[in-house]
């Protein structure tokens, strides 16, 4: 009956129910999976709205899904229900070059937006490493970051307005220029628990006139991370400031031949974009600092293709570790930037205590670490060790005054850890927002909030 109604509303081809189809939508880049009752592929806002209304009539929860690249189980249908895939809603609806903005559908692939606007001299700044496949809608749901967020800010800084389908199937719009509460900011990063983004106006930036990319190699990882803290501490904030350790560099070079020095313990990939007038001074200042911190080599990328190769290596780094380990688990934590060296030491200590090989590839300038923990999922002991290592690393981030997710989100994976950074009163306050937008907990249930967090109101005293 549910399926018939969905087919009648959206068309038979827009409703997937075969076991093989459902299996595809049962998981994301996290480990847990669960089959949904059906997958729908809306072609319009009206389709989304109809699907939500029907699902709710039958008491089914709704899980919106972009490309399924999330690492925290954010799009896994933990309670079954209806998965809404935006694979058919992947177009740019309007491109307003003069005002530097675009209205896009949620299923648009991130990189496709920058490709489509390059001719007009514009680009879309948020650039998660998954940008070749991840969608703008998914990026909005997780407030995705990326290497260039160091200077451009995360997704929330680039969303101007949203068209949203709520848990009753009603459509509403928000804009950062509307009078009233900043509902746009509340929705961005809410991981599909407050509404389903049906379209978005996003900001586009002018392509900078000058871009330089440099590689600094270090003999030990401590020196590299201290150099990063020193660069930021000196008041130099380049466009991107990324670090890779030797484990990662070797994997990247084996996979991509990107041009990274494989004899280094750590490599910094630094990009500065802006006006040509400022480039020499910026280069000299950074080069001085890395030299003072014992860099063993420094190289400028001389051409666009050289820069592209280095970035392709960086953005493909996680995938490249597939060559050296059957499985890997990516942790995501963020610490105050001066504490980066301490955080890296804590990662190393936690990994070695559990005999886990760790590779580090991350947004160093933001203090946003991504330790990749290598393991073999066929070995239960290794799985257990990885889980414990990941948990210990999160705790070290909290102890250093940091947070349990810099840019990947909480999803299903980290929801219990929310209680480690927030009091029950803090969480109950967040839940008040959920009460307004999704009182039935029909939208992406069992995410973000700890299980059993439908707690009574907690007073401060």
């Amino acid at each position: 009956m549910l399926l018939e109604r969905l087919r009648a509303a959206l068309g038979a081809e827009a409703v997937k129910t075969s076991t093989e189809d459902l299996a595809v939508y049962s998981f994301d880049a996290y480990t847990d999976s669960r089959l949904p009752a059906a997958v729908v592929l809306p072609a319009s806002v009206r389709d989304i709205s109809a699907a939500v209304k029907i699902a709710r009539e039958f008491g089914e929860p709704i899980v919106p899904r972009g490309a399924g690249t999330g690492l925290c189980g954010g799009s896994v249908p933990i309670e079954g229900g209806i998965v809404i895939s935006f694979a058919r809603m992947n177009r740019i609806l309007e491109l307003d070059v003069r005002n530097r903005r675009a209205r896009v559908q949620p299923g648009l692939i991130n990189l496709d937006l920058s490709k489509a606007t390059a001719g007009a001299g514009l680009f879309y700044a948020p650039d998660p490493s998954s940008q070749k496949i991840s969608t703008v809608g998914g990026n909005i749901a997780t407030n995705a970051g990326g290497p260039h967020c160091l200077s451009y800010g995360t997704t929330v800084n680039h969303v101007l307005s949203l068209e949203v389908v709520d848990e009753r199937g009603e459509v509403f719009t928000t804009s950062i220029d509307d009078a009233g509460y900043d509902l746009t900011a509340a929705l961005v990063g809410s991981e599909g628990t407050l509404g389903i983004v049906a379209s978005a106006w996003v900001k586009l930036l002018r392509i900078p006139e000058s871009v330089r990319v440099w590689i600094a190699a270090f003999g030990d990882i401590d020196a590299a991370s201290e150099a990063v803290s020193a660069i930021i501490g000196a008041g130099i904030v380049p466009t991107a400031l990324e670090m890779m350790d030797s484990v990662i560099v070797k994997a990247v070079e084996a996979a991509f031949h990107a041009g990274y020095p494989t004899d280094a313990a750590a490599v910094l990939l630094i990009e500065n974009a802006g006006f040509e007038d400022d480039m020499d001074a910026c280069e000299a200042a950074i080069r001085d600092i890395v030299a003072q911190h014992g860099a063993i080599s420094w190289r400028s990328a001389h051409s666009q293709s050289e820069r592209d190769a280095l970035w392709a290596g960086r953005k493909g780094a996680a995938g490249a570790t597939g060559r050296i380990s059957p499985n890997y688990y990516t942790q995501d934590l963020c610490v105050p930037r001066r504490k980066l060296p301490l955080a890296l030491r804590a990662v190393e200590a936690a990994a070695s205590e559990h005999s886990i090989v760790v590779g580090n590839v991350f947004h160093a300038g933001d203090g946003n670490l991504h330790p990749l923990l290598m393991y073999d999922k066929r070995e239960p002991k290794q799985v257990e060790a990885v889980v414990e290592t990941g948990s210990a690393i999160l705790q070290s981030a909290i102890d250093l005054g940091g947070t349990i997710s810099g840019e990947h989100g909480i999803g299903y994976e980290k929801r219990e850890a929310m209680g480690r950074v927030y009091s029950s009163g803090d969480l109950a306050t967040m839940a008040r927002v959920r009460d307004v937008f999704d009182p039935q907990r029909a939208l992406n249930p069992e995410k973000i909030f700890p299980s059993g967090a439908r707690c009574p109101e907690v007073k401060s005293n």
Binding site: G145, S190, S460
Partner: protein, 406 residues
């Protein structure tokens, strides 16, 4: 605790006790910082307790090498700026009257300054916050790291909420490295050059940090009198970038037929701040100031239209057009309070027919209470009301001050 008419809590806990008591006893609470943006929004609906945030006056932590600062709500924008300047950093909030304006007030009012096209809005600088809700809950959100997606972005929700969801007690912010140089250009606009000059500025490759076309607002900004148009432009950046930007700017103005420009290096900041201060400067009870936003392309042409409308209502008008963001600031005035009072309601209605989103940002005339101070209601107003109900069901905090009677 005794409920005084005026309370100045010094800690989050004191504020929490006060709010909880008021909430339980049905007393309304008006939250006040430096009172510099008191002219925004509706006047308080009911008198009760006035909670003044200036007792929350601690800069909790400034970590220069992390580019972060944490401060309590009552700290003035100027005192944060002085501290950050020692570290070569700044916050691009551009609050008017920053000696008096508080951090909490600037955030809560969702103040939008002229450099936001370049640096973003105040809400984009909030990493975390501590807020006291009407029932006395002390709630933290976010942290003090520059990227954080652990849970909802509550801090951005509190920013711009006019204290109607909770009292911001502390905000953790990221800072920016200060530009090496600032340079202010002031130019008079000869007859017939306005449109071309504005269009020329909008297309500069090195965008000015701020650019204004000013008409009226005499003496406050540049000592100039009279209604004829002037331009004020702020360039920021390294010394070498400023040289190039200066050349580009001069030639753009030259092409538009704007001959003379005076250049301020020392005093550029102060000159810029005088323009920002003018946004909310009133002429006592005889003026009312509106703001509306449009596109950068359209803004220059919209200002003369609303001035014409004011003239039809026999009101004097002055405008500042923010050429980088597309804001129009319109101050209408008359000889005295009574004269303004006789015309302002009709003008308010006519203005909103042209510019539905126009908001009142400054005005001391008692009739402000009956004007359409927020412009047209946002499409999601029902959800906003529901949020208010969930956070402050007794309407204890700043009742009636916000959009749609929230």
């Amino acid at each position: 605790m005794n409920l005084l008419e005026r309370a100045v809590p010094a800690t989050a806990l004191e504020a929490a006790e006060l709010l909880a008591q008021c909430d339980q006893s049905g007393r309304k609470v008006q939250i006040v910082g430096g009172n510099t943006l008191a002219g925004m929004g509706r006047p308080p609906e009911q008198a009760g307790v006035t909670l003044v945030t200036t007792g929350l006056d601690q800069i909790v932590e400034y970590v220069r090498e992390d580019l972060t600062v944490a401060a309590q709500a009552g700290v003035s924008i100027a005192s944060i700026a002085r501290l950050l300047a020692q570290g070569g950093q700044f916050l691009p909030f551009d609050a008017p009257r920053q000696q008096v304006a508080t951090l909490g007030g600037t955030l809560a009012a969702g103040w939008l300054g002229p450099r936001r096209h370049l640096y973003g809005r105040p809400r984009d600088y909030i990493l975390g916050s501590t807020v006291v809700l009407a029932d006395g809950t002390i709630a933290k959100a976010g942290g003090i790291v520059v990227k954080n997606v652990a849970g909802y972005d509550m801090s951005r929700l509190y920013a711009g909420s006019f204290g109607t969801l909770g009292l911001i007690v502390q905000a953790n912010l990221k800072t920016l490295v200060a530009p090496q140089r600032s340079r202010m250009f002031l130019a008079k606009l000869p007859e017939g050059t306005y449109a071309r000059a504005c269009a020329g500025l909008a297309t500069l490759r090195i965008a000015p940090a701020a650019a204004f076309a000013v008409s009226g607002f005499h003496s406050g900004i540049d000592g100039d009198e009279g209604q004829e148009g002037r331009l004020a432009m702020l360039l920021e950046g390294s010394a070498s970038l400023l040289e190039r930007a200066t050349r580009d700017l001069r030639s753009a103005l030259g092409r538009a037929g704007v001959p003379e420009t005076s250049v301020l290096d020392a005093g550029a900041r102060e000159s810029f701040e005088r323009v920002v201060d003018a946004y909310v400067a009133t002429l006592g009870e005889r003026s009312m100031t509106y703001r509306f936003n449009t596109t950068v392309e359209e803004a220059p042409a919209r200002a003369p239209v609303v001035c014409e409308l004011a003239a039809r209502h026999e009101l004097r008008s002055e405008t500042i057009v923010d050429l980088m963001n597309g804001d129009v600031i319109l101050r209408v005035s008359d000889l005295d309070s009574r004269a303004l009072g006789a015309k302002i309601e009709a003008f308010d209605e006519a203005l909103h027919a042209l510019e539905p989103r126009a908001q009142v940002i400054a005005g001391e005339h008692p009739l402000r209470a009956v004007l359409n101070v927020w412009g047209e209601e946002p499409p999601a107003i029902d959800r906003m009301r529901a949020l208010k109900m969930r956070f402050d069901p007794n309407r204890t905090l700043n009742p009636g001050r916000f959009v749609g009677g929230i």
